[in-house]
């Protein structure tokens, strides 16, 4: 179960109605597009929102889920507002990508693939970002940062944190994959 569903506050499902209604009559062909809307709205595809979309549109939830898992662009877990993609391709690897990843992990207090509890950052390691000449590289949202060192990477994140005015995420306890204390 996703992190946001563990909080007391239930997810606001009201926006889903419009996602379906805007595409009336909703057909199978609208699924990808509608899921994209959902991801934009919630930052990921919450289970309850997918159930709701299935209920309102008549498209079986298994089909929504099949589409959602087929395309790597969709996330079934909540994602931070900032996606930090650290390249682990060959070029970056030989130039120390592993060190960068662990520095970022340490700074944010989360593992690769996870999201900070305040939902500010997610880390995701990826294969080649296609900018090997800048290796080692990370991509934060749609901004590339190249020729990185561990310090430069952490400084970049700190700058974003300062800009957002958020507390230092590292001070918060780490959320770990699979250990969310949710009832099934």
């Amino acid at each position: 179960m996703s992190i946001s569903e563990c909080t007391d506050k239930p997810l606001d499902l009201s926006p889903v109605a419009a996602m379906v209604a805007d595409r009336a009559p909703f057909s199978e062909g609208d699924v990808i597009d509608a899921l994209q809307d959902m991801q934009t709205r919630y930052g990921y595809l919450p289970r309850a929102a997918m159930d709701e979309m299935a209920r309102l549109s008549g498209v079986p939830v298994a089909r929504l889920y099949g589409v959602a898992t087929f395309y790597s662009q969709f996330h079934l877990q909540p994602h931070g507002r900032h996606a930090v993609r650290v390249c682990r391709g060959t070029a970056c690897h030989v130039r120390g990508a592993a060190g960068i990843l662990s520095a970022i992990s340490r700074h944010l207090g989360i593992e690769d693939g996870d999201t900070t509890p305040d939902m500010q950052f997610s880390i995701e390691s990826v294969a080649c970002l296609g900018t090997c000449f800048l290796a080692p590289v990370m991509l934060v949202d749609d901004q590339y940062y190249g020729n990185l060192t561990s310090d430069k990477a952490v400084a970049t994140l700190k700058r974003i944190q300062a800009r957002d005015g958020a507390p230092n995420a590292a001070a918060q306890p780490a959320a770990q994959k699979g250990s969310a204390p949710c009832p099934p």
Partner: protein
């Protein structure tokens, strides 16, 4: 037609057929893993590659390529063999090869093809097994087990669940090498949309999807397959019981594509609900009541005692002193013997079976209107219907295979009109849903006919040539305007008009109904009025067009056909007709009784009045299935003697003086007749438990003990006697129905059977129209009982549940009674979804859990009747149809309140 050569053989194919379909139709085989004739070809496995027009050409997929005139197809070549080997080796490299311990060993298409092409499992590196096995959506399920390490990702399960079953519980999760079958969000299967139809198992070509319950119970070579007919509903699906003779046990159920009218498809009951056969609760020895308790007895003693009591009642009190309740769950042969026993040995016409509880209004109503009380079309005609008019029926749950055929019709572009007070699956998917108030069907139908006549949409030539009493009908419906109906039925007039127009215009339209029409005090009138509608529009007597009651119990059609009804002998030949009586008297060598006889509801009343003294109940449990339970028990207790022939100690058997242990469908030979009048074989697969005896033998023994000796060597001899006395069945014999059943009327041995009735002429000559006035239900809601309660069936259970509830995966899915109510009512009364509630009527009160949704109308309640421990029939009303004495199960006044009692049921209601 297209001609082509396939491996040097010239074959004919339908144009549009694929090469693979043409090959299979001609008995030729092409290797394949992802194909199934019921599915849209997906081209996923690429094993069916063949050469078209020369082996040097790039191969094409036989399952996705249409035949062309004059094509030469080659299905085997060194090139194809090496391609196939490579594909198989790739699959094997991701497959946990464990044939030695796999339940699918010998029954696995992957194994067969690997063997055939000499594919090795190490060519692309060997498979790394994950220990412990990964948990998945079936880990907690008690019926189905998915093993991702044996899955070849052919997609047959996913596509079946979606394209055929329409449940869409399954999907592929992810892609590439990590792709796996899953439910949405990996939810546990029993909490998903799964309907437990078992289709994913039946279609899986490997051991990846299997019955958990069959694990270790035998592989193909340990099992014997016995083809037989399902015992759970009027559809009459064909399947194979897989028996392990060493264990004398049914291990699993299988089918083949194309098998039976069900095309190899089944619902949960057919696929899973056979555990009852081997239940320790089965009766094994005859029981005799002595000093208030049962003791075991020998067959001789039990039969002697019962026979003597029945004869005593007969001789002392005459034909009204005893009665026989036959069983629409049992075979035609047994029903024939039971009515023969009643009439020849008991000298009474007091013979009935559960049709009175359900479809007697159909038999009576359609016989009056058309001359023959059965479904007029065939199940296979449904997919070509263009306008489906479904009223008071819930086919996806009560007759799931009919539901599948309707889904096919809808995929073929049919329009669906559903009239139902409840949001059934069909209602939710309907193009037009009339959610009318309970018991207002005649108002609705009259208004539809009013509109059809006002617009001149009726079939004038049909009405003129083939019907009588049209003027009376026209006169009657004049006052039933759509506006009036809108008010009484609680729906918009526009909907009623549109339904009428669509139905009248359909080319063709067909009506389907079940107990929502019959279980009313005006049940027979409802049926007659639907017949009116069909005749008015000329939507009857054609292929895919007619009026179709879908019969409930597996052999309720047959039980009626063979004369287990007070007023008719086999083939609906009237007892009142002296010539008919004479023919039977000659064959049976005794005079036949002439008194009118009664129905089960009469029997119970007469027992209460002290008129009926001895009662023989065979394979029915009236205590649970008849309305107003408390009164039923009281009445039965007044009998001098009660004999019950049963497979379990039922609630009725508890009251008996003698209990006779009977056999179930898997333990005997015989025939069932399904809802489309098709007589199908039932075959013995296992030995009965203990001393339980074949029912036809028990009936013979009893008759002999009563002084009218009967004896047969095999049920086929009983059938032959029946057929010789019944013109509509005369052409049917066991030899002719060995593989596939035949539909009556089938008067001669060379007659092919009759797919649809009333072509060119109604059975009674002209169709008789009836002027039907709207009459409201007997019991109206009032201040004390403000709700309308109706009862019905769910997908998962059969009747009183004593067979289906013994199956673990079914119990996991649905194991307790519940009541559906509307959100608004629940909120007003402080009732929450899943909360305990007490439902009370003037007859009784029970506590169940609430299922709160918009499925029923405000002011309405709905409950199933499958759960003995909180029997819904403690609540139902013993008000009856004026003609057939069928009870009004669909409408009784009730009240509901939260139940604070500590013993009240808790938790989430089952889905």
């Amino acid at each position: 037609m297209v001609r082509l050569t396939l491996d040097g053989r010239t074959i004919e194919a339908r144009s549009g057929q694929t090469i693979l379909e043409a090959a299979l139709a001609n008995g030729m085989d092409i290797p394949r893993l992802c194909h199934d004739p019921r599915l849209i070809p997906s081209g996923a496995c690429r094993l069916c590659q063949v050469h078209v027009g020369g082996t040097e050409r790039e191969p094409v997929l036989a399952c996705c390529t249409a035949v062309t005139e004059g094509a030469t197809v080659v299905t085997e070549s060194p090139e194809l063999a090496s391609r196939r080997r490579a594909i198989l080796e790739l699959l094997l490299s991701e497959h946990r090869m464990s044939c030695a311990t796999c339940d699918a060993d010998g029954d696995c298409a992957l194994q067969d093809l690997a063997y055939r092409y000499g594919a090795t499992e190490w060519a692309y590196g060997t498979f790394q097994h994950t220990e412990p096995a990964i948990l998945n959506y079936t880990s907690e399920n008690r019926g189905i087990e998915y093993d991702v390490e044996k899955c070849i990702r052919c997609g047959r399960c996913v596509r079946f669940c979606d394209e055929v079953q329409g449940a869409c519980a399954l999907t592929f999760d992810g892609r590439g090498i990590t792709m796996k079958v899953n439910t949405a969000h990996g939810r546990a299967l029993h909490q998903s949309d799964c309907e437990l139809c078992g289709g994913c198992i039946r279609l899986c070509p490997t051991g990846a999807m299997r019955e958990k319950t069959a694990r270790g119970m035998g592989r193909l070579k340990d099992l014997t397959k016995v083809q037989t007919t399902c015992t759970y509903c009027g559809v009459g699906c064909t399947f194979e019981l897989n028996v392990n003779p060493r264990l004398n046990r049914v291990v699993r159920v299988t089918t083949q594509p194309g098998m039976g009218i069900n095309d190899g498809n089944l619902c949960v009951k057919g696929h899973f609900a056979f555990d009852f056969i081997h239940s320790p609760e089965r009766l094994r020895k005859p029981l005799i009541r002595e000093h208030g308790a049962f003791r075991e007895a020998s067959w001789e003693e039990a039969i002697e005692k019962a026979g003597r009591a029945l004869v005593a009642a007969r001789d002392r009190y005459g034909p009204e002193g005893l009665a026989f309740l036959s069983s629409s769950r049992c075979t035609n042969e047994e029903n024939y013997l039971m009515q023969k026993l009643a009439r020849a040995a008991g000298r009474t016409n007091n013979i009935d079976q559960c049709a009175t509880t359900c479809h007697a209004p159909t038999v009576a109503g359609l016989a009056l209107s058309l001359g023959s009380g059965a479904m007029t079309n065939s199940i296979s005609e449904i997919k070509h219907v263009q306008t489906l008019f479904v009223i008071g029926a819930n086919p996806t749950e009560a007759h799931p295979i009919v539901g599948l055929e309707m889904k096919k019709a809808m995929r073929n572009g049919a329009r669906l009109i559903v009239c139902d007070p409840r949001d059934t699956w069909m209602a939710k998917h309907a193009h037009l849903h009339i959610k009318h108030r309970h018991g207002t069907d005649n108002m609705l139908i009259n208004a539809m006919m009013h509109h059809i006549l006002a617009r001149g949409l009726h079939d004038r030539p049909f009405v003129a040539d083939r019907c009588e009493q049209f003027e009376a009908l026209r006169e009657n419906v004049r006052s039933y305007t759509p506006e009036l109906a809108a008010e009484v039925c609680g729906v918009e007039a526009g909907l009623i008009r549109r339904a009428a127009e669509w139905y009248a215009a359909g080319t063709p339209s067909a009506i389907f109904y079940t107990l929502g029409i019959t279980e009313h005090t005006c049940g027979t009138e409802n049926v007659q009025n639907l017949a009116n509608l069909a005749m008015l529009c000329g939507q009857i007597g054609k292929e895919s067009s007619g009026i179709n009651p879908i019969r409930g119990q597996n052999n309720v059609q047959g039980a009626c056909d063979v004369g287990a009804i007070h007023s008719v002998l086999p083939g609906y030949q009237k007892v009142a007709d002296a010539a008919v009586r004479a023919a039977f008297a000659k064959a049976w060598g005794v005079e036949l009784p002439t008194h009118p006889g009664g129905r089960v509801t009469d029997f119970l009343e007469k027992a209460g009045e002290g008129v009926l003294k001895a009662f023989y109940v065979f394979g029915e449990d009236p205590v649970l299935s008849e309305p107003n339970q408390a009164r039923v028990v009281e009445n039965l207790k007044k009998l001098d003697f009660l004999v019950v022939q049963e497979i379990f100690m039922s609630e009725t058997a508890m009251l008996a003086d003698v209990v006779l242990p009977a056999t179930c469908f898997a333990e005997k030979d015989g025939t069932f007749t399904n809802t489309e009048r098709r007589v199908q074989r039932v075959r013995k697969a296992v030995e009965p438990p203990g001393e339980a005896r074949q029912d036809w033998r028990i009936l013979c023994d009893m008759s002999t003990a009563m002084g009218y000796p009967m004896s047969y060597g095999h049920p086929s001899e009983i059938w032959d006697e029946l057929a010789s006395l019944t013109p509509s069945l005369a052409g049917i014999s066991y030899t002719r129905i060995d593989k596939m059943g035949l539909q009556w009327p089938c008067p001669t041995p060379d007659h092919p059977g009759t797919a649809f009735l009333h072509q060119g002429r109604f059975t009674r000559g002209k169709g008789l129209m009836h002027a039907i006035a709207f009459r409201p239900p007997a019991e109206q809601p009032d201040a004390d009982y403000p709700f309308v309660l109706s009862t019905g069936r769910t997908l998962y259970h059969y009747n009183i549940g004593n067979m289906t509830r013994k199956t673990a995966p079914i119990a996991q899915k649905q194991n307790a009674n519940f009541v559906e109510m509307h959100d608004a009512d629940a909120e007003r009364l402080g009732i929450v979804d899943g909360g305990a509630v007490r439902v009370t009527t003037r007859r009784g009160s029970i506590s169940v859990r609430a299922r709160v949704s918009g499925k029923v109308r405000p002011g309405a309640l709905w409950m199933p009747f499958h759960f003995a421990e909180s029997s819904t029939n403690r609540l139902t009303h013993d008000a009856f149809d004026n003609i057939t004495r069928t009870a009004e199960y669909k409408c009784c006044a009730a009240t509901i309140e939260p139940d604070g009692h500590p013993d009240a049921p808790t938790g989430e209601p089952p889905r």
